[in-house]
Amino acid sequence: MLILECPCCGVKAEETELSPGGEAHLKRFGPGSTDEDFETYMFARQNPKGVHFERWRHAYGCGKWFLAARCTATLEVFGTYPAQTTEPPAELIAKIKARRPDWKGWK
């Protein structure tokens, strides 16, 4: 069972308390963007076998959104962090690099 620590309220929440929200750090494209940008934003989401950054909501807890770094091949959780950021924190990236030396890095 997946357990994520909510960075907003500090609760170690198990999966049934949380609702998944898909890829994190998306750049949103809307009217006026190119077809390619809009398609990639809307449909061609990151789907790595390995390190993945995602949005989660502590739905049956404090109700707040936060972000998590997780391995989709092993379900290992590297860490969670508040959603008010455009990229993962440097310490987290360093931690993931240490755990996954062959990881190509974030974006």
Binding site: S19, P20, E39, A44, R45, N47, T72, A73
Partner: protein, 415 residues
């Protein structure tokens, strides 16, 4: 290849079954093939089979990282139906269902196709409207489905509880020629026929890179060395994104775990397939007597072939309300597969940005039923380099152009 028949059984019975041949060869990979198919699931093997049967292309290798049929093909709940809403879907699913009718004879392999009837329960007013609409669409498409009342549902499934407080049965959509087949047998039957045509099925061989020159595919690197090819078909379901990255493009696909489970065997109690889409529960009874139950998908990306336990709990909680008699059953086994989900819940059978490289994926939670039709359409695409009428609408550029084949709104779920 020696044919299977009643006489073969008699002959082998008289000599202690010492004369059965291996169903397929396990050859060393050659240096070069006309066509390489990556992925020996049902769709990959069917593609190879129809390449040989319909187009005479037999210098083909099917490369599989594990064992053939060990992916979603060997993990699904084997529901076969063609009652889809959109015309391109019902065309390819009905083609597949029709091919299933005679597949055992075609392959000389008993795939145990059992058109026992398939019922989709309407448990909300939204579903009532949706299924009636699908029945009307199916009539225009020439697919035989009908709307049935709650009383007719009770006749079809005597053990059902029509008056569950949360999930009352308001009617259903019935396809009399829908049903099930033996999943392993479909993979094994195609594999045997492919091997018999001289194709190489190479198991325990993982594709690790795609080679190309001047924008055209030239071969693949594998854990058993480099293998060249003129054309490449990628048919790897949940791993499509991984293979697409090797080939240098991105897909509108996300990989998610979907689970199923079986109960202890009991006496015959349900002789059709019942799908309850609102609660994500599917149930049929296997020949061994086990209840085969499929659940809903997880909500997050995952490649681990196991799902979250609470989804099983949700499915069973809802099914127990609709089928109270199963409440004391013990569940024997539970497993997961990695399904490849597209935004419109319809598959891709498509050319790709890389020349002579084709992809067949996105069958998500519902591609077992499509195997023969998908292989038929994919073989045509690979052989001619252009899609035929069955595949034409399923190209990967439809997402950019807004030509969705929307089955997610139509059914709520796939299977």
């Amino acid at each position: 290849m020696r044919r299977y028949s009643v006489f073969a059984i008699a002959r082998e019975a008289l000599r202690f079954h010492s004369g059965w041949e291996k169903a397929w060869r396990s050859p060393e990979p050659k240096k070069q093939y006309d066509v390489i198919i990556v992925g020996a699931g049902g769709h990959g093997l069917a593609t190879a089979y129809y390449l040989g049967k319909n187009f005479g292309i037999t210098n083909v290798a099917v490369i599989e990282k594990g064992w053939l049929g060990g992916g979603n093909t060997g993990r699904n709940t084997t529901i076969i139906r063609s009652n889809y809403l959109q015309d391109p879907s019902s065309a390819i699913f009905e083609k597949a269902r029709a091919l299933y009718e005679t597949l055992s004879q075609d392959l000389n392999y008993n795939i145990m196709f059992s058109p026992r009837g398939l019922l989709m329960l309407a448990q909300t007013h939204h579903e009532v409207r949706g299924y009636k609409r699908t029945v009307h669409a199916n009539q225009l498409q020439g697919v035989a489905t009908e709307w049935v009342t709650p009383e007719q549902v009770k006749k079809l499934v005597p053990m059902i509880n029509l008056h569950g407080p949360r999930y009352p049965v308001l009617g259903g959509q019935y396809q009399a020629r829908g049903g099930t087949a033996r999943h392993d047998a479909v993979a094994w039957g195609y594999a045997r026929a492919c091997s018999d045509m001289g194709m190489d099925i190479i198991q325990n061989c993982e594709v690790t890179a795609v080679r190309s020159a001047n924008g055209v595919v030239t071969g693949v690197e594998t854990t058993r060395g480099e293998i060249g090819c003129k054309k490449l078909g990628i048919v790897v379901a949940g791993h499509s994104g991984v293979l697409a990255e090797m080939a240098g493009f991105r897909l509108p696909i996300e990989s998610i775990a979907l689970q199923a489970l079986v109960s202890e065997p009991i006496k015959p109690c349900i002789d059709i397939v019942v799908m309850a889409n609102t609660v994500h529960g599917y149930i049929s009874q296997s020949d061994k007597g086990e209840l085969v139950i499929g659940g809903g998908t997880d909500g997050f990306n995952n490649y681990t072939q196991r799902g979250s336990f609470h989804h099983i709990e949700e499915t069973l909680r809802a099914l127990v309300e609709t089928f109270p008699v199963i409440s004391r059953l013990k569940m024997l086994r539970q497993w997961g597969g990695i399904v490849d989900m597209t935004g419109d819940r319809s598959p891709l059978i498509s050319k790709t940005p890389l020349g002579n490289c084709f992809i067949n994926c996105g069958w998500g939670t519902g591609g077992f039923k499509a195997i023969p039709g998908s292989g038929w359409a994919m073989a045509e695409l690979v052989a001619k380099g252009e899609p035929g009428p069955l595949a034409a609408e399923f190209d990967m550029w439809r997402f950019k152009e807004g030509r969705f084949i929307d089955e997610s709104v139509a059914a709520g779920v796939a299977h």
